[in-house]
């Protein structure tokens, strides 16, 4: 059993997954974490439906990202986790981490404190993950999740994605972000532009990076304009 201390009011952990076998395995891990699993078996018609069920029957949740395949839910797991995070309800996301999943999850990543690879749900991770959620609700972050305002360089743009470099994270590694992640009020985003955004640059892996609070970076003025070389 894991020794990470949880508040007394965290006992019941909901299991949200479209696959029965996966639900049973998750429930087993929850029991091993000395917590009580609450398995969600019926279809979830909406996010509101999920939220009302959790409010009554659970203190935390573990949610798979892909919930639609068996007509189990009308929404994706990442969307649900982000919504619950905003309500300060502790929840962990499970995903297979395919490239497609990373792109789908990215817009919600700021509000997903703990993302666990399928098959990696250990009792220790459950307890530590719930504690991490509770800490973030109090604005206390682990280094890998600490938001930092940083510069983004736009390398390329296509109809679906923008391709960026984060010089203060790794100037040799390009990343792609879904275009939908950039607020429309920032206008047309073009290669060569710079943006500022809050990013958790303490994260070591691409899939763990989140982006929030975008701003257009103003072109340097005064003597700083003379430094520009391109």
């Amino acid at each position: 059993m894991s020794t990470t201390m949880l508040p007394d009011n965290i006992q019941r952990v909901a299991v949200i997954d479209d696959d029965k076998q996966a639900r049973d395995a998750m429930a087993e891990s929850i029991v091993d974490a000395d917590l009580q699993p609450v398995i969600q078996q019926e279809r979830l018609n909406s996010l509101a439906d999920l939220i009302s069920k959790l409010k009554i029957g659970a203190d935390a949740a573990i949610c798979d990202h892909r919930l639609r395949p068996r007509n189990y839910a009308s929404f994706q797991g990442a969307e649900a986790v982000a919504e619950l995070y905003r309500m300060h309800f502790p929840v962990l996301l499970i995903t297979a981490w395919s490239t497609e999943d990373i792109d789908n999850i990215r817009p919600y990543r700021r509000e997903i404190p703990v993302m666990i690879r399928s098959g990696g749900l250990e009792p220790r991770i459950i307890r530590e993950g719930i504690v991490q959620c509770l800490n973030e609700f109090e604005n206390t972050y682990v280094k890998e999740r600490q938001p930092r305002r940083v510069l983004l360089r736009i390398e390329d743009v296509d109809p679906s994605f923008i391709y960026i470099i984060i010089p203060s994270w790794d100037s040799n590694t390009g990343l792609r972000l879904p275009r939908s992640i950039i607020p429309t009020h920032l206008g047309d985003i073009k290669p060569g532009m710079r943006l500022f955004s809050e990013v958790n640059i303490g994260a070591s892996k691409n899939e763990d990076l989140y982006f929030d609070r975008f701003e257009i970076a103003e072109e340097p003025g005064n003597s700083y304009a003379d430094l520009i070389r391109s």
């Binding site: 510069l151 010089p167 100037s171 340097p220």
Partner: protein, 300 residues
């Protein structure tokens, strides 16, 4: 008391000097480790940020620091590098301008000995040993007096910190064999008690690594050498560097900030040596007599 922290910033360099009248940062490493350190220690203002050259592992963290709005930086010094990719340089210009809009920052794109006596913020004397004004003006891509091609590493800023007339620490940044030759031609004495080894103990440019190391050690004569490296490194420091150091300096102690398979294996083969692998950040108090380093790994 004046204290120096050589930070574990993974593969990169960053050091923080907390002196009586101000805080000086020498290089910013990559990522957010420097910013994390400053926040953990309640530091919200840096008097001087010195960036030895424009490589990612020295300035990446500076861009995060300048953008963060969490720490005010009053002065920034950096040697220009016309050969460096224009995009990275432009990124730095954007972040400098952004910081300047929030809090006035003095920026000077030149680090040469003309700054000596202007960087001190207390009892520790900060000396710019190189590059000379001549080399800095010529810049990367040009040649030195002997016709050798200069790279950005050749003109990395080399700094030395002294306390009560004793040279304590040298930061040679990523200086290569050409830069070292030029430095030695201009400075007879570059001795220091502790050296943060150039280029993380890797290959110093096109020259022979053992010859470079021997020349560096004979000139600096350090008692302690620190390799600022990332974790799980199998290439840093180079085994030829370790062996050349040991054959040049009797009783020297070597430390790596991150975990080096090379040094660890060397320690395993030489049970009596005093080296330590993966110690994390290192610090020293300048007024301790005799000088001694303290490191994070001591806690465990």
């Amino acid at each position: 008391m004046p204290t120096l922290y050589v930070l574990d910033v993974r593969h990169g360099n960053s050091a923080v000097l907390i002196d009586d009248s101000g805080i000086i940062v020498i290089d910013a490493g990559p990522g957010s480790d420097l910013l994390d350190f400053l926040q953990e220690n309640g530091i919200t203002q840096i008097d001087i940020l010195i960036l030895s050259h424009a490589d990612q592992d020295h300035i990446g963290g500076a861009m995060g620091l300048l953008s963060s709005k969490e720490v005010e930086i009053k002065n920034v010094y950096l040697n220009t590098d016309s050969k460096k990719g224009s995009a990275v340089w432009d990124d730095l210009a954007y972040t400098l301008w952004d910081h300047h809009k929030h809090s006035q920052v003095h920026f000077e794109p030149c680090i040469t000995p003309h700054l000596n006596r202007k960087l001190d913020r207390g009892r520790v004397v900060i000396e710019v040993l190189g590059p000379s004004a001549y080399l800095a003006t010529k810049g990367p891509g040009s040649t030195d007096r002997k016709g050798r091609k200069l790279t950005s590493n050749s003109i990395s800023a080399v700094l030395r910190l002294s306390y009560e007339n004793n040279p304590v620490v040298i930061f040679p940044s990523d200086i290569d064999d050409i830069g070292l030759d030029n430095l030695l031609e201009e400075h007879v004495d570059i001795k220091a008690w502790l050296a943060v080894f150039p280029h993380h103990g890797g290959n110093p440019g096109g020259g022979n690594v053992a010859i470079f190391t021997t020349k560096f050690c004979e000139a600096v004569k350090p008692s302690v050498i620190v390799f600022s490296i990332g974790h799980n490194q199998s290439d840093f420091p180079n085994i030829a560097v370790i062996k050349a150091i040991e054959s040049t300096l009797a009783g020297v102690r070597m430390y790596t900030t991150g975990s080096s398979g090379v040094l660890l294996s060397h320690i395993g083969d030489n049970k009596d040596c005093l080296h330590k692998d993966c110690v994390g950040s290192i610090w020293l108090h300048f007024d301790k007599e005799p000088l001694e380093i303290i490191y994070e790994g001591m806690k465990s």
